[in-house]
Amino acid sequence: MSNKMNPLSRRELLRRCSLGFGGIALSSLLSSPAFGAGTTSTKPKTKAKNVIFCYMSGGVSHVDSFDPKPALTRLHGQSMPVPIQRTVFNNNGKVMGSPWQAKRYGKSGLEMTNLFPQIAECADDLTLIRSMTSKVSEHAQGNYFFHTGFPFMGHPSAGAWLTYGLGSENQNLPGFVVLQSGGAVVPHGGVGLFSNGYLPGQHQASILKADGALALANIKPGEADAAQRRRLGFIQEIDQAFAETAREPQVEAAIRNYETAYRMQAAVPEVCDLNEETEATKQMYGLNSPDKLTASYARQALLARRLVERGVRFVELSCLTAGIGAGGAANPWDQHGAIAKGHGAMAHQVDQPIAALLKDLKQRGLLESTIVIFSGEFGRTPFSQGSDGRDHNPYGFSLWVAGGGFKAGTAFGATDELGYYAVDQPLTVYDFWATILHQLGLDHEKLTYRFGGRDFRLTDVHGHVIKPILA
């Protein structure tokens, strides 16, 4: 909050200061009296309101999933026909064909492997991008780059930009939520990946445990409801007198926060209670899967839908590690070795829950207003690392989006014959976010925030909206 806020009537004040998780770029507008800060002046008609980000930390192999390359099978075991760029482990082997089989799926005939059989069945809802690139080939920087547009800490995460730009539709729930379950942890780089950066504090992500007793830190009162109400009553009584003498908007806002906090204590457990869902739904997501990782990830997917239903803007899901081939808790997809086994286990974890999420959103009419994103921080090399792994490849990889007004059942861009470099319409993370923001009605060049003498954006000073993939 700014010291420069103009005096307001008390009523006006309370209305405007309910910053909670809601204030639409308000506080920043007020604290930046100059120019430049702010959001789009007029909100164009948009289809999308929410984002569900299925983040595949560690890096999914595009050549084994959404960008099949027959050439790799043909050249399997041979030396790479093109020079190899520096890799992270510098243990580069021969061309390695995919252990999975490619085929065409759906009416659209999108070609994918059978690594994600159930997601593949949703082909007609997917928009594949096969020409993604990243600037960095290490996890932490890759994660930061993908989340914030900068390969290091300190900048706001995409979810934070979104809540800053759009506000929340639900005052009682955080607008930006990161889900975890089982042994899932924050990807390499730490919680800074989900930071509000220099944006006001309410835009920071809340980490919700999809299976924990305490879904959100400090959400559970240590006392009975009646006791807490008595407490709040006493606090408010004393605070009011202080607010009278202080005549300070930020004090008013702080008082008001207690009301929001009180409501959140009820709202968060309510949304996290999956028992409200039918058996059929649970079954569809895989909550009862014998694969413990699938069952755990399914809870996140189902909870993501519940959060989006309640107006949460941005939900990010976290994978659990299968512990195979260097894929640790923070980077579960990182199969530098044993990629067949590791990717197989990881795919099995997310395939059913994500496919169910797509179907569920669709049948509830939510897919149009929700953008589902599936991506890791980079792809993997077409040649092996050691004998049976793949190293990081930032030069070309795939991701997909679904819903939210994207052109479904299409593929955009292409890598070369080997899947090494993006060659047709190479895209940057900036282009990607510019497009996502566009679908949410935000102009990525105008969604700025002044910090330390500069107007910052999610897309730095780059990025173009990818028009051809919009419906």
Binding site: N90, Q228, F234, T245, A246, R247, Q250
Partner: protein, 1304 residues
């Protein structure tokens, strides 16, 4: 974008004539004041290419004609001119320049004056194209910005206030027709000033004292008390930590520690508490390591100045970056960002890709700074005072020379005694010697084979031996698991276990198999035969009740026996008297057969008679598995005279009794080194060897007897085991394989020559000498020294308690491999690409451990980093930003040569390349050579060959470096050791190492793959464009420029920061940005007054703070006088005090203080509050800050993310804050502890008052007491209520009061 002044100048020319009607003064005015502004601010939208609103401003008629809004100017009437209305923002719709900050007041004034004088304009011709403004023109406009103007000495407004500061403020308050608020009450004021200065609440005692002090000085006394409190430094250090993005880890994957980062934090705390003048403080932060007169902390003997550069190292580092240059660009960018914002309030890093968009900062400025910081290397700087670092240096150096002389004298004598010894060497003579040597070699091979064959043939035997110790480099058991552990001063030298006969011995863990029948076997050398009772090799039950042992001279002088418990299995066997000279090995073995028969062998032959047990008690003893162990050099545990004085070369244990033939073979085979060789296949090799041996024997029979010459006989190296074997003296070095490929044009360094000076030596342990013959005095043990070093750069030549880092010049990696000839212990050789100091190893970050007493070649695979700039670094763990080993472990290193090559096969190999071996044809040649060498060495004039000869003689025991060879030597060494003992291990802290600098090429559009011309290192062009001296990094000059009153920014920026911390907002609101995107000062004259005053008062932060705190303004109530808010919403004029939320750290510190747990212990490594041990008793400034796991409590309350300068924290309101205060276990725990301190018997009213007083600095008023009474009644009425819980609950509610959370 690159600008040049040329286009504009060219365009000017034709107009001069046409503008002849303009007065020269008008022309001058237009060209200097108006045209540059039009070009830089207006042409973008109003020129030949673009005509927004149909307006062109790039020539006179266009400007006069105007656009769709009508004529731009009314010549002679500025007020009526649209141009002026729009640039002054007086116009309702037109506010120019669009999307940019308002023009500076000075520029606007120029335009007003220009229009009023008729807008004389020489631009008659309309340009046909856009004019790209030249940088010089932009600079000319931008330099007018207020913050770049010299600090003026403003006149102080009149007024009744005693403080000039108040008079400046009051003048504006009066002018705005505002009423200043009343003075705050004492309780409010005390709480306010205590938080401002210390970040802690006042204690009840402090409150009472202030209330009781009714004197006029009471408040000033409080300020002085607080400024003198160590808590002040802690609080203001934390403010500073916000500016330099303080963290204890590097973030990214792994979040690695920044070793000793806390020392920089402690430095800040001391600096603020000691009120170090700010200009000095600034110089220390930029170049404290380079100040000629560093600021020394006498109590701690710390070089405080050297600690100042720590912030440069507090950067976020990528994890194993593939592109290290990209990483460096980010890091240096961040360093520039932090330095320029922190000290100058400028955003220089905005000019990385192009000239600054708004400020007079060019892209060249960025790269001028880049060169300075990239020229400095990340390191762990030695931060002890110069005095401490130099402690005893001269004395130790002097003593070392005396020791050298004394030892040289000893050696000359020893060398002279050599001939007699050398004459005993076997195989002395030329051809005969050669033949004998060859024969010996063959016989050894054959015997070894027979020996092994015989062992293999032994039906009942298992693998033989079952345990085997050769003491080559340690006490390891080559076959089993019974490693020998040195005890009582036992040590290894030249592959032997050295035993002093006074308590030194070695022992093993418990045996791994039962032993009854067995053979004990050993090679031992006895320096004196006149000793008694020592055991060579013993097997003993761990309870000490039974043992069998090879014992020398216990019952009979100079005779061997089989020792046993109480002599139960011991008999005199009548063997011959031992007469082996002290320089020769004796082979002794004892076999204990299954029937109890015991036989002793000496040198392969039965020794005396064997014997059988006399009775049952004397029968074979069964040594139980796991209940027995082995001893070396000790007869048995607990006996008198049980220690052996001597050297054990090798020992073996068999679990059966060897036959006499096997013993003989074993002796003949001799000692074995290294691994157990496979039994030789009978494939003809042996046959050939046998035939050759027969031939040799025949030849030798006929050859002449010894002629006393050495010649070629000494070239062989086949029996280096004999201490007097002269071959050792020749073994001064192997030539390396010459590189097969042609040498590249990459630099090669010979650190044994004058080119060593190109390398940078850091720390107090690099002597910088390269001459041969350097040595280290042993600081313990019986030797004076153990090694004579060849030429090269060596570390730790006076003491291992020094610090030492050696780095090469910066070079571009052009070869696949770099080979470095190094020696050392515990050190690491590392390739540092692009200053990236974290190297996990492998071929991506080449490095190698240095652990060889003799110079050896290490080859780094650098192919992956080809094309990068890099340097080589040698460090020990303590001196490394990324330690490879345990800290605090002594070690050393030396470097001789570096070769750059392609192809691994081209790597030089082998030991030291030293010299042509001296020609030693006769014994007297050897003697003479040694005498000469010792003499030269004693004078520190030894050449390479002499140093090598002495080293080899020493290694082979030809020369003795024993401490006790002379009393004088012993005395000198004792004194040396006494002084060395007093040295302390230096303290290290993150910082920069200074090395010769380089100019950084500008990166076109910021792309590090597109280097353009190098930019000279210098300060900002607008302040001083003169290039720095090219030698160093330029940091020292930069420090002088920034830490000076000559630049208008440093003082202004700092006083504004202090104002911010005092009044809640700076006179310039954007404390880190004094550029055009920042705020302009609300009180420019006051800012300048303060800046001047600050410099006058010798940059005293405490004095300035004192003046600010003593103002009326600071002491005003935060409740505005009626009507004030409507006229001055943001309270820019400070008619009342601002209310401020507690910072996260102040909040946590208050919790700890209220809970009665505050531990005032200062300094040291950070506390971990997030994981066990959950340290929650010290102030938050001492919290460990891990970038990837920031403290949630402090982050929730807007603690900054440590990635760049944050001079002004946010104060956000989020429900998570409320949830934290309501539900967080730490807060609940705090409340419980706090309530437990209430006086149990006190009334509710006084308990409530006590809590209010501590939390809010005042007792509860009547209304609050009433509310409390009602609330307490409710709490008490709860069924489960107990008094403790009631008050814990009540206390927690007090912690949730906004008046607690805010300072009014």
């Amino acid at each position: 974008m690159k600008f040049s002044a040329a286009p504009l100048a060219c365009l000017l020319l034709p107009w001069v004539g046409m503008a002849a009607d303009l007065k020269p003064a008008d022309l001058e005015f237009f060209e200097s004041k108006i045209r540059p502004v039009l070009v830089s601010e207006c042409y973008e939208c109003h020129d030949a290419k673009k005509q927004k609103a149909d307006l062109r401003l790039d020539y006179r008629d266009g400007l006069i004609k105007g656009g769709e809004n009508g004529p731009t100017i009314v010549a002679g009437n500025a007020q009526k001119s649209l141009l002026i209305q729009s640039i002054t923002h007086a116009h309702e719709d037109l506010q120019m320049p669009k999307k940019r900050p308002k023009l500076d007041a000075k520029i606007i004034a120029d335009f007003v004056s220009w229009v009023n004088r008729g807008a004389p304009d020489p631009r008659t011709a309309a340009p046909t194209d856009s004019i790209t403004p030249a940088w010089a023109d932009l600079l000319a406009v931008r330099k007018n910005w207020w913050s770049f103007q010299p600090i003026v000495n403003p006149s102080i407004p009149a007024g009744p206030a005693s403080s000039p500061i108040d008079r400046f403020l009051n003048a504006k308050i009066i002018a705005a027709k505002l009423t200043a608020a009343a003075k705050a009450d004492k309780a409010t004021l005390l709480r306010r000033v205590t938080y401002t200065l210390t970040g802690l609440p006042p204690t009840p005692a402090e409150i009472a004292a202030f209330q009781a002090d009714t004197s006029t000085e009471a408040y000033a006394r409080v300020i002085d008390r607080l400024l003198a409190s160590p808590r002040y430094g802690e609080h203001f250090a934390r403010h500073w930590m916000d500016l330099v993005r303080y963290a204890d880890t590097h973030g990214s994957e792994g979040d690695p520690n920044i070793p000793q980062s806390w020392r920089y934090r402690d430095y800040l705390i001391r600096a603020f508490n000691d009120n170090v003048p700010y200009d000095q403080f600034v110089r220390e932060q930029i170049a404290g390591d380079l100040l000629t007169q560093p600021r020394v902390n006498p109590a701690e003997q710390l070089n405080e100045s050297a600690l100042g550069t720590g912030h440069f190292r507090l950067i976020e580092h990528g994890f194993q970056p593939v592109d290290t240059l990209d990483e460096q660009v980010r890091n240096v960018d961040n360093q520039i960002d932090v330095v320029s914002k922190t000290f100058l309030g400028l955003t220089v890093s905005c000019a990385r890709c192009h000239d600054h968009k708004f400020d007079p900062i060019s892209q060249a400025d960025f790269y001028a700074f880049y060169g300075i910081f990239a020229s400095s290397r990340p390191g762990q700087v030695t931060v002890d005072s110069p005095e401490q670092l130099g402690l005893h240096r001269e004395k130790l150096s002097g003593l070392k020379q005396e020791i050298r002389e004394a030892l040289a004298a000893q050696w000359r004598q020893q060398a002279k005694d050599l001939p007699a010894a050398l004459n005993r060497v076997r195989g002395q003579s030329g051809e005969r010697g050669k033949l004998e040597q060859r024969l010996a070699q063959l016989e050894q091979t054959l015997a070894g084979d027979s020996f092994r064959q015989s062992l293999k043939a032994e039906k009942d035997a298992g693998p033989a031996p079952i345990h085997w110790w050769t003491f080559e480099s340690d006490g390891r058991d080559l076959i089993g698991k019974l490693d020998a552990q040195m005890q009582g001063g036992a040590r290894l030298r030249n592959g032997r276990l050295i035993l002093d006969g006074k308590g030194a011995f070695a022992e093993t863990d418990a045996t791994t198999e039962p032993l009854t029948a067995k053979t004990l076997e050993a090679w031992v050398q006895l320096p004196t035969l006149a000793q008694s009772g020592g055991g060579v090799l013993t097997i003993e039950s761990i309870d000490g009740k039974a043992f069998d042992s090879i014992v020398y001279a216990e019952r009979q002088p100079q005779r061997w026996m089989s020792g046993s418990d109480n002599g139960a299995r011991t008999q005199n066997v009548g063997g011959p008297v031992e007469k082996t000279p002290p320089t020769e090995l004796v082979h002794v073995a004892i076999t204990y057969a299954a029937d109890g028969k015991t036989t002793i062998y000496r040198n392969g032959q039965p020794y005396g008679k064997s014997y059988s047990p006399i009775n049952a008690a004397g029968g074979l003893h069964a040594f139980a598995q796991a209940k027995s162990h082995l001893l070396f050099g000790r007869r048995h545990t607990g006996g008198n005279n049980s220690f052996l004085q001597g050297e054990i070369e090798e020992a073996r244990l068999y679990n059966f009794a060897l036959t006499a033939d096997q013993i003989a073979l074993s002796f003949q085979t001799g000692i074995l080194r290294g691994e157990v060789p496979a039994v030789a296949a009978n494939d003809g090799t042996l046959k050939a060897a046998r035939e050759e041996a027969d031939k040799l024997r025949a030849q030798l029979k006929e050859s002449a007897p010894s002629d006393g010459k050495l010649t070629a006989g000494f070239a062989g190296e086949t029996d280096p085991t004999h201490p007097l074997h002269a071959s050792g003296l020749r073994r001064v070095g192997l030539r390396p394989n010459p590189p097969k490929a042609a040498p590249t044009d990459a630099p090669d360094w010979d650190l044994a020559s004058a080119t060593a000076t190109a390398w940078s030596q850091h720390g107090n342990g690099m002597a910088g000498r390269i001459t041969p013959g350097e040595f280290r005095v042993e600081t313990a043990g019986p030797d004076v020294l153990r090694q004579i070093l060849p030429s090269g750069l060596h570390s730790h030549t006076l003491s291992t308690k020094h610090s030492a880092v050696l780095t090469s010049p910066r070079f571009k990696i052009t070869t696949d491999f770099i080979s470095v000839q190094v020696m050392g212990r515990g050190a690491t050789l590392r390739l540092i690409p692009d200053n990236y100091p974290l190297s996990p190893g492998g071929s991506r970050f080449p490095k190698a451990g240095v652990n060889s007493e003799r110079a050896t070649w290490l080859t780094l695979d650098t192919a992956y980093r080809k094309g990068s700039h890099a340097y080589l670094e040698l460090t020990l763990p303590d001196d490394s930003p990324n330690p490879d080993g345990k800290l605090g472990v002594a070690g050393w290193f030396g470097v001789r040569q570096v070769r750059f090559h392609d192809g691994k096969v081209n790597a030089p190999k082998g030991e030291a390349v030293i010299v042509t071996a001296p020609t030693l044809n006769t014994v007297s040649d050897v003697t003479d050579a040694l005498v000469d060498a010792a003499q030269a060495w004693g004078r520190d004039q030894a050449n390479e060959a002499q140093a090598a000869l002495l080293d080899n003689a020493l290694r082979h025991g030809v020369l003795d470096a024993g401490l006790n060879t002379s009393p004088k030597l012993a005395q000198l060494v004792t004194e040396y050791r006494r002084l060395e003992e007093a040295l302390k291990n230096p303290r290290r802290a993150p910082g920069f190492w200074e090395v010769p600098g380089f100019d950084q090429p500008l990166y076109t559009r910021g792309d590090h793959n597109k280097p353009a011309e190098p930019i000279a290192r210098r300060f900002l062009e607008i302040l001083d464009a003169k290039p720095f001296k090219p030698t160093g990094s330029g940091r020292l000059e930069l420090a002088t420029k920034i830490g000076s009153a000559d630049n208008p920014l440093t003082a202004r920026v700092m006083v504004n920061r202090l104002w911010h911390h005092t009044f809640g907002r700076g006179l310039v609101g954007t404390v880190d940005n004094f550029g055009r995107l920042g705020d302009q000062p609300t009180h420019p004259e006051l800012l300048d007054y303060l800046a001047k005053r600050f410099v006058q008062e010798r940059w005293s932060v405490k004095s300035l703070l004192r003046e600010l705190l003593l103002t009326e303004a600071y002491q005003r109530s935060s409740t505005p006088a009626e009507g004030t808010t409507t006229q001055d919403g943001p309270n820019d004029l400070l008619s009342h005090m601002r209310i401020r939320r507690l910072e996260g750290e102040a909040l946590r510190d208050s919790f700890i203080a209220l809970a009665g747990r505050l531990d005032a212990r200062m300094y040291g490594p950070g506390d971990n509050a997030l994981a066990p041990p959950r340290e929650q008793v010290r102030r938050s400034v001492y919290l460990l800050i891990r970038r990837n796991t920031l403290n949630p409590l402090i982050t929730t309350f807007d603690g900054p993310k440590p990635f760049t300068t944050v001079g002004r924290r946010d104060s956000t309101n989020v429900p998570v804050q409320s949830l934290t205060l309501l539900n967080d276990p730490f807060i609940i725990e705090t409340a419980r502890r706090w309530s437990e301190q209430l006086e149990a018997n006190a009334s509710d009213e006084s308990k409530v008052n006590a809590l209010f007083l501590q939390a809010l600095g005042r007792p509860a008023n009547a209304k609050e007491q009433a509310a409390a009474t009602r609330y307490l009644a409710e709490l008490k009425s709860t069924p489960a209520a107990n008094p403790n819980q009631v008050w814990a609950d009540f206390a927690q509610s007090v912690l949730n009061l906004k008046e607690f959370l805010y300072v009014k």
